[in-house]
Symmetry: C2
Subunit: 243 residues, 2 copies
């Protein structure tokens, strides 16, 4: 059994939308941050990983939302590095409310990038051992993501300075900002995602312009972020109406 | 002496820029949020204020930055509702680091909006008494803000769903997002603001497009946010080079 790591946070109002629900990209940011905190607590920080010329990259998130936590709520964020094979690490994240109910589950596939060769690196024992993850042979399949077939709408976003993180790339969660902004106020204030699967293909840099493109069929939407001829990220979202 | 209210927070990495400095708009959001927490703790929450058909609005922030707190730091946020006259309330905010050094001072002028008449409301005793603020006769002058004379550059920003807060307007701190994004990566990663004065004239709504316009003379910049013929906000920033 992999080691679990938890932190309790109160959700500030400025991390919530007009319906007082936590903003989706912020929620993902909060979850990813505790995986960094767990790594640090186990002595395998990003700096340690970097000493092997390796860096963590996110391949895909699969998010399952039962209920979106709201402004002022105290939530417990939990993670475990569940299992790994030669190239991939599979992490689970949960959000529980104060009563102990599961609000959100996120399953994330990570890989290691060889920062010198700019290709996938192997998962080293030194890096993974402290998590007590299960070593597996097979490649676990994340949720299947359907690619966009018809661009029904698009909006353009110039990368902002604050979109860039310590790696000098657009932070992964920013793609969700651009994707969530696809629909209008009426839709977004009366629907929340029930599931989100998002796959990251190619990082973006300062100076790039992203196009957020979408198609929607009822309560299912398909999204992609493109820059020039490159598809940087793809996502499928299933929405549910609130009230 | 006005009652002081403090909270200690650890700064998550996702609230920081590529230099690990706290993002300026997030810093202002964090400070404003503790004024709401103090109000709530004294039984004069926004809901209570709303029961008089009044709502707080921000007129101006004057921010003095000695040092920007960084990712992972534990900071103490403190506020007091220092003084008030018939129409304005003057609040101070501070950020101190773990060693007790003052990092940031923000002086904010608030007013009350009569939500029915859509004009300035009087500061009521029921609302202000719990803060033990000093009652003054005079109108305190905030920092003088020089208006933009020549548009040297501009960027356009469509209001996003997540820019809207509980009042259905663009959150005040978003104007700072648009203003800070005026300059390029090289400038922003090698300079921080030393002082910022920002005045809010007219709220923006979902569907509006903001233009962030600026002029810069050495380390001083003048900013305005306009939508159509309206100047929604104006700011002066004095920058200082880091390392």
């Amino acid at each position: 059994m992999a080691k679990k790591y938890s932190e309790t946070h109160q959700i500030p109002s400025y991390n919530c939308d007009t319906m007082k629900n936590i903003k989706i990209p912020t929620m993902v940011r909060m979850l990813i941050t505790i995986s960094g905190a767990q790594s640090q607590s186990l002595g395998v920080s990003d700096d340690f990983v970097g000493s092997f010329n390796l860096g963590w990259i996110i391949i895909q998130h699969d998010v399952f939302i039962k209920r979106l936590p709201q402004s002022g709520e105290k939530i417990t964020l939990t993670t475990e590095a569940e299992s790994y094979n030669r190239f991939f690490c599979y992490r689970n994240f949960w959000i529980h409310d104060e009563a102990g109910n599961e609000c959100v589950l996120m399953k994330t596939t990570f890989a290691l990038m060889d920062l010198v060769e700019r290709k996938m690196g192997s998962v080293l024992d030194e890096i993974i051992a402290p998590f007590e993850s299960e070593k597996i042979k097979r490649v676990k399949r994340a949720e299947k993501i359907h690619s966009l077939e018809t661009v029904e709408g698009e909006k353009a976003y110039a990368v902002r300075y604050y979109d860039i993180d310590g790696n000098k790339h657009v932070n992964n969660s920013v793609y969700l900002d651009w994707m969530m902004d696809a629909f209008d106020f009426n839709f977004l204030s009366s629907h929340i995602p029930e599931t989100i699967s998002i796959k990251f293909n190619k990082e973006m840099r300062y100076g790039d312009v992203a196009k957020s493109q979408w198609q929607k069929d009822g309560l299912n939407s398909i999204h992609q972020i493109v820059s020039g001829d490159t598809v940087n990220a793809e996502a499928n979202v299933k929405w549910v109406e609130t009230n």
